[in-house]
Symmetry: C2
Subunit: 646 residues, 2 copies
């Protein structure tokens, strides 16, 4: 028995992630559309606003909602977010008494029935508003009421009382006692790079220029012009920390290593230090800071790997022996995924009684690197650590550094990957490397780029990684790399490649999607101008992405009909910027197809011609009507990336 | 930093009404299916149960969930509800440590790698369980561990430790510290009549046998055999309270009434009393109680109207003048829906400062009649009173009388009708009277009988009401009544007619869906055997409903394909009971069509013959294959109601 004047009902608020349990994700400048069903009992009117604010501000902003479908009681509005961090918002609804009175009385005035009593009622109703109006509004109301009282007839009074300005003013200030609030919902606003970025992954030790010689941060600095020229703006390194000696792995993950073998960087820690130290062979903190600074000059941000793995030599083993699981014989358990063994890696036991200290130490590591200018972390295998830990540590780090981006490297079941994104990861890896056919690409990317998923999951499309050398690339030669490059750069606004992809290089471990002679276990050098490379294509694709805002959006992907199952046809639009892409998914054979342009979407009539400018080849085609012909030879150019011009 | 061992994650519980904000509705004997996504980080196993109980019991029951799709982490189970009232349930999930150990170790045993350390680990793990096992389980575990210790080899130890009974027992008793609970969700269980009932509505004053003479409860008693014979089990009366004198309406809602005019029963209250009194012309409380008792003997329950309307003579006007809105001139406001006026009705103002007393008084009225044996209320215009009031009063009444059924008579916008159902109304009126064509019937009834709607909204299909004389019946003659009778009795498990429908009577107010000479404003008598009546059809339809459990379910409606748009083809199944209905929706012309029986659904092969027994005509047809022919002449029989027999 709590409510009396509170008669409005707010239902079915959307979009939400899990009914509001997790925040929507947006970037600065985005509009947040809010839709809800709002109504009250009876025939009286309601009025509604969205109230929102960055959580660290006191002041709520207010934006009116509009009833767009009265029969369905559908209300909507939108507001902009521009500040990085969390926003909160709620819907508030009120009873609109004066507006209801105007609506009802107008019917009587129009029907010419007696309304003298209604005029008196309306005046009494308006007087109530004095209690909550501000001074100037109250003064205006007072004048209007005085005018109405002095008026010579009820009809004159009606005209005064139904005057637009008065009605609007009172509508904007409904009775506060009738205020009903929805729950409060959250939005996480991440900087634009969360949505739009081009990642280049490399092992800094493989950035040397002399075969067999350990590359350094200084070598990476020398490579920056090349990476920047290709158009990348995030440079991501696997772990840069001291590599363990005990159980160190040799080339190709062999159990024995030779003197001089650098080991796997995921086996973190030795007497030089652990997660807050740098492998001496790479350089010093000074070198690292010089690299971060120099990269910034090229518009490139350094991203680090965050892998909660310890080598048997990690300082934690001595400092916190209780953080590790022990076998009954007293030895420490290495990582296993039976029957696979990872002898050089000791996982931290998050169920240790000391787990709160583990959480705090992990936070310390993140903050340590953030202070050194690292604001992007690719998190290794987050799905094998507690969800609650990630929820806590990401929140804690972003409280201090709101611009930190976390990329979840979880390749596992969909629910687990999605849960990590809901809990706070800014971006996520995806199944992209295993989606090659038209039907599966269409289904998967429709799901990824449409609510509810697009409201919390930003898929960073890696075309390859040190761990994944996709089967599609094994036998397809250069055309296969080109196809995947076009798909990665145009299906999502955020994507990445691992060094060597641009060289179309790679020999698979037989029967596996793994690289032979992987950078994970040895030092490699490459000829960055090796024949057969697709550096030019990648450079051009990155340019196109920078020049065309449609490609910088994540959730605007639309698939269009193409008649040949080997040709994928899709597009992205933002305002007047329309990019349409046709890709031959077959790296071996030329395919042609009629593709169907949704003319209406682009404001075109069937008679109107429009220019399709292939931004890859700079060729221009004049198309008419919806149905047009494309022919794509994978050996020359497996794709058109069209700019549509009316 | 609260969770440590609590690593399971429970998401996306379904079905729910508005994410669990409102209860699911069920009836005794129903199975409640619960589905959720359940998983944890890492590759370790989880285990899950649903725990449920009637809210008034201490003991929780437990039913295990099964993972039906491991890749999608989909878990499900079901449990039965058998007690009227509220149930609550939640999902609980645990980490399944021992099961994970068995799973992992088995891989090593099978791969023939060394597992001696694992055996020791498994034994240590099992020992942990002693802390929470009961005595007999603990004893069994102890014996098994002793056997394992004494065993001669690791393989023997493995066989003991992986013994089914041990593994199952430990799986049933996971570590309580790892317990994770979902929110608690509610189910409202109403008695079967909430779902399956046949309502007959009549004005008792129109049940007299002498034209112009006010009928009485004693007259209604005389009509009981006839109503029972037709197969009705709820007899619903518009208000039976003293009818006001001031502003009393005459026949056809005229503003002037003649001496002897009985007035409109919705204008409630005079010097004889208000909502807890009986119109003297109908009889006494003794008569009413005799009627309730006699009806029960016929298997008929009396349902009353609950209309929060007061005539100007209602005792409340004197006792609680503050409950009514006054005009500026001091007079009390009558009901209006501008420019319509209801001069004989004063609505109660739920925004009165004394509103808590109004709520309590309304509760008192409901409980007053419940004590007199009335357990079904049809609530008049609930959508013009506060939602919060209904939520409160229905809960309060059902706390005292859990078997009370509330039917919401709200004909308004869909969101409002649905909100009332969510808030507590047991049943609701629907748009049935305005759905006549195949497409609109299919769309509307698919929505009504499918989740989410079927989880909280039970549509009671009235074929007509004192307020609604559907256009479809105006010119369609007897065939139109037959068509609507078949639809009402077979599309929903709960339906009703207003007296006279079985006589195919009615003259419309020109241009309106209203009855001329309506029982609402005058006393009427009828010849219950008038020629052209469809009493036999209605009797037969009610019999069929009683004999065939498929028609007693609400959410099992399925539409099937018929090639002619004038022939609607649908069915309801429960276990082996399959009813299929083909209705000619055109009351004027014979139509034929091929209809498509979904053979697979009935376990039939295309070669198999099956009998279609028309329960209306008792004719039997032998059908083969999916596609079969029907021909329906509205003048003889506009419908087949088939029992399918294999």
């Amino acid at each position: 028995m709590t409510r009396n004047r509170k008669r409005a009902f707010i239902e079915n608020v959307r979009p939400l992630v899990d009914a509001g349990a997790y925040p929507l994700k947006r970037e600065p400048g985005d509009s947040v559309k809010v839709i809800a069903d709002i109504f009250r009992d009876g025939h009286q009117k309601v009025t509604a606003w969205v109230e929102y604010r960055p959580v660290d501000r006191k002041k709520w902003h207010k934006v009116p909602m509009t009833c767009t479908n009265p029969g369905m009681d559908l209300w909507e509005t939108e507001f902009k977010v521009d500040q990085i961090g969390f926003y909160e918002y709620m819907i508030v609804a009120y009873c609109e008494e004066y507006g209801t009175w105007v609506f009802d009385t107008r019917k009587k005035v129009d029907a010419n029935v007696d309304y003298s009593s209604d005029i008196l009622e309306g005046m009494a109703l308006a007087k109530n508003y004095r209690a909550w109006l501000n001074e100037s509004d109250r003064e205006y109301l007072k004048n209007m009421l005085q005018k109405a009282e002095k008026a010579g007839s009820d009809l004159q009074r009606w005209h005064i009382l139904s005057h637009d300005r008065l009605v609007e003013m009172l509508a904007e200030h409904p009775d506060p006692a009738s205020r009903v609030e929805s729950e409060t919902f959250k939005i996480r606003v991440d900087r634009k790079k969360a949505r739009f970025a081009s990642w280049y992954e490399c092992f800094p030790r493989s950035c040397g220029f002399e075969p067999g010689k350990h590359g350094t941060f200084r070598d990476v600095i020398k490579r920056l012009p090349h990476i920047a020229e290709m158009g990348f703006d995030v440079l991501y390194f696997p772990p840069i920390h001291p590599v363990g000696f005990s159980k160190r792995k040799g080339p190709n993950n062999s159990l024995t290593c030779q003197p001089g073998d650098p080991g796997c960087p995921y086996s973190i820690g030795n007497h030089h230090g652990g997660h807050d130290a740098i492998e001496p062979a790479l350089g010093t903190f000074e070198d690292f800071e010089a690299l971060v600074e120099e990269a910034a000059r090229y518009g490139i941000e350094i991203a680090l790997d965050f892998a909660i793995n310890c080598s048997p030599d990690h300082p934690y083993l001595k400092q916190h022996p209780e953080w590790f699981s022990r076998r009954p014989d007293g030895t420490i358990k290495f990582a296993e995924n039976p029957p696979k063994k990872y002898e050089d890696i000791y996982p931290i036991n998050f169920e240790s009684h000391d787990y709160k200290e583990i959480w705090k130490e992990m936070r310390r590591i993140f903050l340590f690197w953030a202070r050194k200018g690292v604001k992007i972390f690719r998190v290794d295998n987050p799905h094998t650590k507690p969800f609650a830990f990630w929820e806590w540590v990401i929140y804690e780090v972003q409280q201090k550094y709101p611009d930190v981006i976390f990329l979840s490297e979880a390749f596992t079941r969909p629910r687990v990957m999605k849960a990590l994104a809901k809990l706070g990861f800014t971006q996520s890896y995806s199944y992209f490397t295993w989606r090659n056919e038209k039907a599966e690409l269409t289904e998967y990317f429709s799901e990824l780029t449409t609510p509810p998923e697009s409201d919390y999951y930003r898929a960073n499309l890696f075309a390859n990684t040190p761990d994944i050398f996709p089967t599609f690339l094994h036998g397809g030669g250069q055309p296969a790399y080109k196809i995947r490059a076009v798909l990665a750069t145009t299906l999502s606004s955020v994507y990445g490649i691992f060094q060597g992809f641009e060289l179309c290089e790679g020999i698979p471990v037989p029967g596996k999607e793994e690289y032979l002679n992987s950078d994970k276990y040895e030092i490699r050098t490459r000829d960055w101008k090796a024949p057969g490379n697709i550096v030019d294509l990648i450079t051009r694709l990155n340019q196109i992405r920078h020049e065309h805002p449609a490609l910088q959006e994540y959730d605007n992907l639309q698939f269009y009909h193409s008649e040949n199952d080997k040709i994928l046809f899709y597009g992205k639009s933002l305002g007047d910027n329309h990019i349409l892409v046709a890709v031959n998914l077959d790296p071996f054979i030329r395919h042609s197809s009629f593709v169907h342009v949704p003319l209406e979407k682009f404001g075109l009539t069937p008679e109107q011609g429009y220019q399709m400018h292939d931004l890859l080849t700079d060729r221009r085609y004049l198309w008419y009507g919806s149905k047009n012909y494309v022919e794509l030879d994978p050996h020359s150019s497996p794709a058109h990336v069209f700019l549509l011009r009316k």
